[in-house]
Subunit: 226 residues, 2 copies
């Protein structure tokens, strides 16, 4: 659960929490870069399709990708990723509404990251458009996923996320014929907050647009590893 | 943003925050019951259709209903409710990931609640399946809204909400033909946490099932005031 406190308490706690988080994020970055891993942090509402995007990525990247799954409860998502053929580690936050760098650091200690083939670590955050946006996990690329059924008005409603992402994915494009969703409006509103954002429109379910997105991620880690 | 603290700090802050919230919730309940208002707290993911449900309710209840809208940012939802013909007050939380009883108390002070016709106050919480579930706002009925595109696995992933709701609404039933969503599974998993939950399957967009749900709310406030 989120706590609310006095303004003074808030500033003090916030500073100490964030400096602790930033220390762990820096340590994660060192570990991950040391092993030549390029790291993604996927953030969205519950049910926007993060796990389906990762299943589709698992088919593209195979053993080159490992996944950390964040959920309040259940191992369901890690099991889906394992079935899709990738190594997966489930963090059950037991109530906490976001991942933090410490939890990811702990997960890294449990995973087998030594394979030469491994180049990519994808972290699926807890389904929440708000709280995860304040926490650097040590990633190279932050991805905000918005799905068509959520509506084209969500970018400006959740600016703390969409102003800080490197990539906006608009998912569930296969549902466009059944809904009133203005793709141009969503992209335009995102660019108004975040002019350099890279945008991909996909349907992880049908595969539409996924190859282009996976190619973009691949060029990121190929550039990274030289 | 959500803060994380030491376990000891957490317990202390949590107790003081919750007792403060509970005091305001009790005061809200006194104010609302004093004015004969029956109060709903609607909680869901971003984009599950809370505002569309309220627009549909506005057509059923007309001037008998007033609405408090909670959002991180923008007045978009209050404007939609006003266009649908009901009084609306927008709380912009400016970053906070849930409403609390104090914010609702403040809103009540700004609203015109004196009309004899007014019987129902609906509070639309911030779009978030996690953080709002810990905060009593002074409501009579807590409603969890799950939409078909989010997937039928969400109830057990977000038990802090779905174990505490009086009503589960499954919305966007018009999209069932285009998606793999097992309605029986979602209801069964909700009943496994919460045996007495009342369930409604609706499409707020087409109106399907909304009359039955509105009739249920109406019987609640008629029982309350009668």
């Amino acid at each position: 659960m989120c706590e609310e406190t006095s303004a003074k308490q808030k500033v003090e706690i916030s500073e100490s929490v964030m400096s602790k988080n930033d220390r762990f994020a820096a340590e994660n970055r060192k570990i991950l870069r040391g092993r030549g891993l390029y790291t993604l942090n996927l953030i969205s509402s519950p049910g926007a399709g993060k796990t389906t995007v990762l299943e589709s990525m698992a088919r593209y990247f195979g053993g080159r990708m490992a996944v950390i799954e964040g959920d309040i409860q259940t191992r369901r998502d890690a099991e889906r990723i394992e079935r899709a053929g990738c190594q997966a580690w489930q963090i059950e936050t037991g109530g906490a509404c976001h991942l933090d760098a410490h939890a990811v650091n702990h997960a890294l200690g449990h995973m087998d990251l030594d394979s030469d083939e491994l180049s990519l670590l994808a972290i699926e955050n807890v389904g929440n458009l708000i709280c995860p946006s304040g926490y650097d996990l040590g990633e190279d690329m932050r991805i905000g996923l918005l799905s068509v059924p959520e509506g084209d008005d969500k970018v400006l409603k959740y600016p703390s996320l969409f102003s800080t992402v490197d990539v906006l994915i608009i998912n569930k494009m296969d549902l466009i014929p059944h809904l009133d969703f203005d793709v141009d409006r969503a992209i335009e509103e995102c660019r108004s907050l975040n002019p350099d954002v890279n945008v991909f429109t996909v349907s992880a379910r049908t595969g539409e647009g996924m190859e282009e997105f996976c190619g973009f991620v691949e060029s990121g880690f190929l550039r990274n590893t030289g």
